[in-house]
């Protein structure tokens, strides 16, 4: 019999996950760990100590050339002209119709060099999308195979990673990065993450990924470090109110609807999707993303229908238990006038309405 996992893409840490007895799943064509010790345990470890995630499936796209800024600013919604070298920001990659191709992190490496971190299952689509807009003679490279990415996340992330690098991590502010070293080898060290905690995402040579992983596991041992999978990554990002492509955002959703107006800079000049977003802004939105918490017994899950006063009104984009808050939470799209905190809603769970109430996003903010 053929092994169905044989066709899945593997990160350089695949064997490490299997050695740790991770439960592996097909995640957008990648063979990835969903959990090791258990989602709740991993989640709590990241909130209280430090967790280690393999995010090597994420894609990297490099845009270089004298006019790199022009291309970056045309394909993304945020204003990369405001980035200093060594700074990172979150941005949308939009279609002309204003929906998302993807959501991305833009790192300014130099005036003529930008490094984009993009979603795993979107990387080829993103690359083609960007390359098709390249009127500025830039070099655009789909560089995913040249990088492995490991996320060290949690209040003890800095203490863990600092043991392995001479780069002073406390000098790297949130959403900044430094090209430095880890254990003597080149590493791009970014103070970014997808958990709502302090932490770092390090980009390293794939051939050194398992070495780095093991060193980090050892360095974090005194702090109780644990490997964490995609299950905990999802509950952590959901509590922090961070969007996930395919859930809160996709080709049919605009950043204004998703509550991401803060990454749309209308004053920066033309960009893909701009005209449609301006129309949308002028006409007024019809729907918006809002948080909810369950009041009745039950868990509102992704895709469930949301009703207001008995009538269909929207849908759940992400939903599940919040281990930190110990309640069942989620995000949903609702008509604009209902998408305010304090609206009584019903989530249709197995054909029965269960009471919930809208609440602001994010659900969790770490103490600074």
């Amino acid at each position: 019999m053929s092994d169905p996992s044989a066709e899945l893409l593997k990160t350089p840490l695949n064997e490490a996950h299997r050695a740790l007895k991770a439960r592996m799943v097909d995640f957008g064509g990648w063979d990835m760990p969903v959990q090791y010790s258990g989602i709740i345990d991993e989640h709590n470890t990241v909130r209280t100590a430090v967790g280690l995630f393999d995010v090597s499936h994420m894609g990297e796209i490099e845009i270089k050339g004298p006019e790199a800024l022009s291309l970056v600013n045309y394909v993304s919604t945020n204003n990369a002209a405001k980035l200093a070298t060594g700074q990172v920001h979150y941005a949308g990659l939009l279609y002309d119709h204003g929906g998302f191709v993807d959501d991305i992190l833009v790192h300014k490496v130099a005036d003529d060099s930008y490094f984009l971190c993009v979603n795993a299952s979107n990387q080829d689509k993103d690359f083609q999308h960007i390359a098709a807009q390249n009127r500025w003679d830039c070099t655009v490279e789909n560089a995913g195979p040249r990088y492995a990415q490991i996320a060290v996340q949690g209040p003890k992330a800095l203490a863990t990673l600092q043991k392995l690098t001479s780069t002073d991590l406390s000098d790297i502010k949130y959403y900044w990065f430094a090209d430095g070293e880890v254990s003597g080898d080149w590493a791009r060290i970014a103070r970014t993450g997808y958990t709502g905690e302090d932490g770092f995402e390090i980009y390293v040579d794939p051939s050194l990924a398992s070495k780095r992983w093991n060193e980090l596991m050892d360095a974090g041992q005194e702090f109780g470090i644990k490997p964490a999978g995609l299950g905990a990554r999802n509950t952590l990002r959901m509590e922090a109110g961070m969007a996930l492509y395919g859930h809160e955002i996709d080709a049919s959703i605009s950043p204004l609807e998703a509550g991401l107006q803060w990454i749309v800079k209308f004053d920066k000049g033309d960009f893909l999707g701009r005209a449609r977003l301006e129309e949308q802004k002028a006409a007024g939105l019809t729907r918006k993303l809002i948080g909810f918490e369950m009041c009745g017994r039950g868990i509102g899950r992704d895709g469930y229908e949301v009703r207001v006063a008995g009538a269909p009104a929207g849908w759940v984009t992400s939903g599940g238990p919040s281990p930190t808050l110990n309640k069942n939470i989620g995000m949903c799209y609702l008509p604009l006038d209902k998408a305010v905190p304090g609206t009584s809603i019903e989530i249709m769970i197995r054909n029965a309405p269960v009471e919930a109430v809208t609440i602001p996003i994010p659900f969790y903010k770490r103490a600074k």
Binding site: G38, I39, D41, G231, N234, G298, R350
Partner: protein, 126 residues
Amino acid sequence: MNYPETFRYTKEHEWVSVDGDTGTIGITDHAQNELGDIVYVDLPKVGGAIETGKSLGSVESVKAVSDIYAPVSGEVLEINTLLAEAPEKLNEDPHGDAWLVKIRLSNPGEVAGLLSAEEYKSFIGS
């Protein structure tokens, strides 16, 4: 894990233990392990009927919802109220304290058609 010899099992990973005309139903250790952290259990109402092969409720882990299929038919006599407060007990003691429902069997002959402990263990490859 020990799969009691006195239980009968389904390929959907439920078990039933019979005492006279009363059947106690639960999910297997294999099932709880596959599901991961269980955070919610939805059970039928006492007095209701459950029907072989039909969903009698659901078990939710952090990630997903799974139906529980009735291994046998009958009338619900009692549901395990412990699970409303402490669904995680299903991860700890699925063959014991964390049973799901007790029913009055409407067709006790159905039990003979279920898997033995040996057959179930071989089915899950343990």
